[in-house]
């Protein structure tokens, strides 16, 4: 995993996401999920491009079911975008392209 993508747990959510001042992207992933595996290298590549401007986090859904339920996430992978602790823009889910992540992150910064 790229050093620019960190895995968090539900207990870190408040500190890392809602209390964060920098924009955050959060990836819910699962095991036995081919689109999640396919997303990982693209997510890392975009994280490397925006290093120090945007925090790229991931959370393992099976280990954090309540957080997924609380956020209404029912599909893996799902990317959520946060600006000043509030969810921003459209979620991305399913087969996600690298250019789509990049466009969403640019919108987050814009």
């Amino acid at each position: 995993m790229s050093a620019n993508v960190r895995e968090i747990q539900a207990s870190d959510y408040e500190r890392e996401v809602t209390d964060a001042t920098a924009p955050v992207v959060l990836d819910f992933f699962s095991t036995e999920c081919p689109p999640c595996e396919a997303l990982a290298p693209k997510y890392e590549a975009v994280a490397d491009q925006f290093v120090s401007r945007v925090q790229f986090l991931k959370v393992f859904r099976q280990g954090n079911r309540e957080l997924a339920a609380q956020l209404g996430v029912t599909s893996s992978p799902t990317l959520l975008f946060f600006k000043a602790g509030k969810e921003h823009g459209q979620r991305l889910t399913g087969d996600i392209k690298r250019s789509e992540i990049k466009a969403a992150v640019e919108a987050l910064l814009g």
Binding site: A38, G72, S75, G94
Partner: protein, 310 residues
């Protein structure tokens, strides 16, 4: 400087990977490009029962990995999770730019980009995607442990994936427009005998309803035309596939379903450009027919390269 290949295969499903096996064994320098991981639709199929050579069922993800391993064993390169950001397919020397940075070229290209799930095209579908709506049972089934869910469709995928979903869900209600399934007889029997599966025959979904997450599916009874909202924890949609022809739509003519017409050697009519698998205009779309297309396309490419090199 663009890296030169003999053959670029676009799409690493059964058609593309079989083409790569044949091409690589013929010592063609071959690269297979895919937006995700190798395997195409097979990799998210929970089990495959009708692919010869596997008398016990094989998991789709395992079969996909085996196809890829075999292609790589003979020297084909599989470029995973890449995006084609530019391309030129009509010229003699065909060019691709990958992820805006890497450039490759080849005299022959096989497009085997397959098909993707057909959306229903009804209100709420886009809004609730990933918020209760799914097109992939292996990816999302575990989100619905102990829940009451609905499946839309009545073909092989819908009925087989419903059976898979009973591992997690408390109940699976299949909503189907006809009064019988289009799935294979063996699968149909298994589903109808499963105590967790209920079927709402002759009903069609009209909308997905909810606030921020999906709450219910609005269905119409096709006999009485009455509509009602059914409470649901989640809905899986399996109503067929549409060809992924974005790459070819301005390059070759497509038929009215958006498929590519080829001759029986998989040629599109553009010299050096071939199509194989579910993207082709044809009657039946199976792993076995995709594999056959991939074989033919790779053999046709070998002949084309021999002739064009004199």
């Amino acid at each position: 400087m663009a890296e030169r290949f003999d053959l670029v295969v676009v799409g690493a499903g059964p058609a593309g990977l079989t083409a790569a096996i044949y091409a690589a064994r013929a010592r063609l320098k071959t690269i297979v490009l895919d937006e995700g991981l190798p395997g195409g639709q097979v990799k998210t199929t929970h089990k495959v029962s009708n692919y010869p050579g596997f008398p016990e069922d094989v998991k789709g993800s395992e079969l996909a990995a085996l196809f890829a391993k075999q292609a790589e064993r003979f020297g084909a390169r599989i470029a995973r999770a890449i995006e084609i950001t530019e391309m030129e397919l009509k010229s003699r020397d065909k060019r691709f730019v990958l992820d805006e940075e890497e450039e490759i070229s080849a005299p022959a290209v096989i497009v085997a980009t397959g098909a993707k799930p057909r959306p229903l095209g009804i209100p709420g579908e886009t809004d609730f995607r990933g918020r209760g709506l799914s097109y992939c049972a292996t990816c999302d089934g575990a989100y619905f442990e102990g829940k009451d869910i609905h499946v839309i469709g009545g073909g092989n995928s819908a009925v087989e994936e419903s059976l898979f979903l009973t591992q997690f869900a408390k109940s699976v209600t299949i909503i189907h427009q006809f009064d019988h399934f289009q799935a294979e007889a063996a699968t149909t029997k298994e589903a109808l005998e499963n105590p967790k599966i209920k079927v709402l025959w002759k009903h069609e979904p009209r909308a997905f309803v909810g606030d921020t997450t999906l709450d219910s599916v609005r269905v119409e009874n096709l006999t009485t035309q009455a509509t009602q909202d059914l409470k649901t924890d989640g809905v899986f949609i399996f109503v067929g596939m549409v060809p992924r022809t974005e790459l070819l739509k301005n390059v070759v003519p497509l038929d009215k379903w958006g498929c590519v017409e080829t001759d029986d050697a998989m040629s599109t009519g553009v010299p050096g450009l071939y199509a194989a698998g579910d993207i082709r205009a044809k009657k039946f779309r199976q792993i076995t027919t995709a594999v056959a297309d991939g074989t033919i396309a790779a053999l046709a490419v070998q002949k084309f390269l021999r002739e064009s090199r004199g």
